[in-house]
């Protein structure tokens, strides 16, 4: 039994020593607590932050809160103990992360956020960097209008109303649809259903099945991200409606881009996680350089069609 405890300890010592002490970089370390690293979007943000930070002589420590805001608050605590130069967060919750941010403020460590914005008043964030979701939603609306033209049609939305980013996407989308409908001579594009697709493949599948059941003459569908769009596509295929209903999604993750290349999704307003990461570090450098930093920087989205996929280096490299 003693031997077992010894082996348990040896395993730990091995694991910790293997990855243990790295030499501190010249200008210090930056702590990044990601919302989750199982989503490639956040992994890309982390990677681009790491390389940008390294170029300026900083070392980036990445930890993953796995959507648990308590764990993220614990991470902030540990960053303070380590005495990092700056903290970057994707808040797991736009409210409850407040006390942790306030704690970092009290320790004199500047906090930056990206993707999800901190909404509370308790703590102070130097700068927030994210995709311009409102503008992206407008792009999606324009893509639908361009596709349906003046003939109009019925549209369904696969929403994820819990996320503020998705609320902005749908808001921009609806504004373009309304503007189109108010123009004389256009047959209206009617949003017949707004369902919660959970932002996930399985829930998107179920929601789209219900949508097509209720509206057999549906002509387009706007999904707030790629996984729920792909779930919807599967539902349309099984209902034999894949050619009738065009799908517009959001994000431009690799799976989404592949679907666009294969003609399963018409187009995506895409996000640029690499830019989000890079810009965050740039703002931090500016901050330490004594420059004034904008409190919010929005990175515009761009429509990505099949023609873009054909020239995309993501697919051409083996």
């Amino acid at each position: 039994m003693t031997r077992l405890w010894a082996s348990l300890l040896a395993c730990l010592v091995f694991a910790l020593a293997g990855c243990g002490q790295t030499k501190p970089a010249s200008k210090g370390t930056i702590g990044f607590s990601a919302m989750t690293l199982t989503n490639p979007f956040f992994q890309t943000i982390a990677d681009s932050m790491r390389s940008e930070a390294a170029q300026h002589g900083y070392e980036l420590i990445v930890v993953s809160a796995e959507r648990d805001v308590k764990q993220q608050a614990d991470h902030v605590n540990e960053f303070i103990v380590k005495g990092v130069q700056a903290i970057v967060l994707n808040p797991c919750d736009s409210q409850s992360i407040g006390p942790a941010i306030a704690q970092a403020n009290a320790a004199g460590i500047p906090v930056f956020t990206n993707d999800v914005k901190y909404d509370g008043t308790e703590g102070k964030v130097v700068c927030h960097v994210a995709t311009d979701n409102y503008q992206g939603g407008k792009l999606a609306g324009e893509a639908i209008v361009a596709w349906l033209g003046s003939s109009g049609g019925k549209v369904a939305i696969l929403h994820f109303p819990q996320a503020e980013s998705c609320q902005l996407r749908v808001k921009g989308f609806l504004e373009i649809i309304d503007a189109n409908n108010s123009q004389a001579g256009n047959n209206p594009i009617r949003v017949v259903q707004t369902l919660d697709g959970g932002g996930m493949r399985d829930e998107g599948f179920k929601a789209a099945k219900d949508a097509i059941e209720a509206n057999p003459d549906l002509s387009a569908l706007f999904a707030i991200n790629d996984p729920s769009a792909l779930g919807a596509r599967a539902a349309l295929e099984s209902a034999g409606k894949a050619d009738q209903v065009v799908i517009i999604a959001f994000d431009g993750q690799l799976i989404g881009k592949q679907a666009i290349r294969d003609g399963k999704i018409l187009c995506d307003p895409i996000q640029f996680p690499d830019q989000i990461g890079r810009v965050t570090i740039e703002q931090m450098i500016k901050h330490f350089d004594g420059d004034r930093v904008e409190s919010e920087i929005l990175i515009p989205s761009k429509l990505y069609y099949r023609a873009d996929a054909e020239h995309d280096p993501d697919f051409n490299t083996p």
Binding site: M1, T2, L4, W5, S7, L8, L9, C11, L12, V13, A15, L16, A17, C19, G20, Q21, T22, P24, K27, G28, L37, I61, V62, V63, E66, D68, V69, K70, A73, D74, H75, N77, E78, I80, V81, K82, G83, Q85, C92, D93, S94, Q95, S96, I97, G98, P99, A106, A107, G108, P110, E122, P161, Q162, I285, H287, F288, D289, G290, D291, R292
Partner: protein
């Protein structure tokens, strides 16, 4: 004896982490300030013209005041004192240079010396920064870290008390994570809707907390009744309750977090007494009580008896059903308490809280030496188990272990702990 061995492992682990997290620490505060002033006076003489740069924290204010006091006492000139960000430092330097004055030295600390702002000015440069002499000390052994670890563990450890009792009766409760979320949402909603949100009185705060904990106790009792009356396996009953409670809390909160809470509510989760955070105090008190209950009372003996052999316990007059319902209700109540503490700590009620806590808590209990087949295990062991997991996690974060590797290590620790339990059981069986 077993607990003693585990404590030893924990101590070895802690000393190992102390070794690998040794870092150069930069002193701060008043003493560091005097030291920096002295070294400037020695290197630059008494005519030195000095800029002081520190941040706007309490510690840094003490630092900059001490530097200024010492320098001026010896006749040196303090050009300006900055307590703020790099931007403030830049403006101060620009002002000094515009006056045509020269900066001989910058009194700074370990953090402000690393700012890149000084290199913007050809006549300044970061080589003019004078910092207090760093000393080596493990990050792990800093008071703030040790208290932080205890504070991080407190909620898991509190829930683990109830879980230990449930597992000792050879049951399991998978619903604790969802009950944390439910208690969080319930207490926040009661305080918001009936108490008036951030203006709520202390009475309403208490009512909200007690109502939330009480509801969780009732739900726990429901699980217990299902297990005893209908003989449904605890795994299935609590799995169902887990989903229902989670869905219900999302429904109640409409998927959002509820930040409208009064500051009096934060006393429990964020307050301190004598430098010790309240969740840690609460944890210690509850463990002391639970230890006495489990080792010195009839109730405790009954719980062990049921876990050892339920039929034998019933035949010898133990009220098995009542005790089981009580144990599950207690586990639910403690999960509810955990939820209230968490809400207070993070200053919002949130249905997303408590995600996967059941696994974290069960892991603490099992690592702490409680047998999943029931009848064996101690409250003290669970506390050690909870700390073992917390210390490993903290150590891996401090040494910047990759997040995916962290999962592998934690999984391995849990597997080894169960292996240990199995081996120990077969030892016992072969010896009888």
């Amino acid at each position: 004896m077993r607990d003693y061995g585990m404590l030893l492992v924990l101590l070895v682990l802690a000393s190992f982490l102390s070794l690998v997290t040794i870092q150069y620490q930069h002193p701060a505060g008043e003493k560091a300030g005097s030291e920096v002033a002295d070294s400037i006076l020695t290197s630059q003489g008494k005519q030195a013209r000095v800029l002081i740069v520190a941040r706007d924290t309490a510690e840094d204010f003490a630092f900059s005041t001490a530097v200024a006091k010492r320098l001026e006492a010896f006749g040196a000139t303090v050009l300006a004192t900055v307590n703020g960000s790099a931007l403030d430092a830049r403006q101060a330097i620009e002002e000094i240079l515009a006056r045509g004055e020269q900066i001989d030295a910058i009194a700074s600390n370990g953090v402000t010396a690393r700012w890149t702002v000084y290199d913007r000015f050809a006549t300044v440069g970061s080589q003019k920064c004078v910092v207090p002499r760093p000393y080596a000390w493990p990050d792990f052994l800093k008071t703030s870290n040790l208290l932080g670890v205890a504070n991080q563990t407190a909620i898991y450890a509190i829930i683990a008390i109830g879980m230990t009792m449930v597992i000792v009766t050879s049951g399991i409760d998978l619903s604790v994570g969802s009950l944390v979320a439910l208690a969080s949402v319930l207490s926040a909603i009661i305080i918001r809707d009936w108490g008036g949100g951030s203006d709520a009185s202390i009475g309403m705060v208490l009512l909200g907390s007690v109502a939330a904990i009480g509801s969780c106790a009732l739900i726990g009792a429901f699980s217990g009744l299902m297990v005893t009356t209908f003989a449904i396996p605890a795994f299935i009953v609590t799995l169902g309750v887990m989903m229902m409670a989670s869905g219900f809390s999302f429904r109640l909160a409409e998927g959002r977090s509820i930040p409208e809470l009064p500051t009096s509510f934060f006393w429990l989760g964020r307050g301190q007494t004598g430098g010790i955070p309240h969740p840690v105090l609460l944890m210690l008190i509850l463990y002391a009580i639970a230890h006495i209950v489990m080792s010195r009372t009839v109730f405790g003996r009954y719980v062990y008896a049921i876990g050892g052999n339920a039929s034998a316990a019933r035949l010898s007059g133990v009220p098995v059903k009542t005790i089981l319902v009580c144990v599950y209700a207690l586990c639910g109540a403690l999960a509810g308490l955990g939820g209230v503490v968490l809400t207070s700590q993070l200053s919002a009620g949130d249905p997303k809280f408590g995600l996967m806590y059941e696994l974290e808590v069960i892991a603490s209990v099992v690592v702490g030496g409680t047998s999943l087949t029931g009848g064996r295990g101690t409250i003290f062991g669970t506390l050690v188990g909870a700390f073992m997991i917390a210390v490993i996690k903290n150590g891996m974060n401090l040494t910047a272990v990759d997040p995916f590797n962290q999962k592998i290590v934690l999984g391995a620790v849990l597997t080894l702990a169960v292996l240990l339990d199995t081996v120990r059981r077969s030892d016992r069986d072969s010896s009888t």
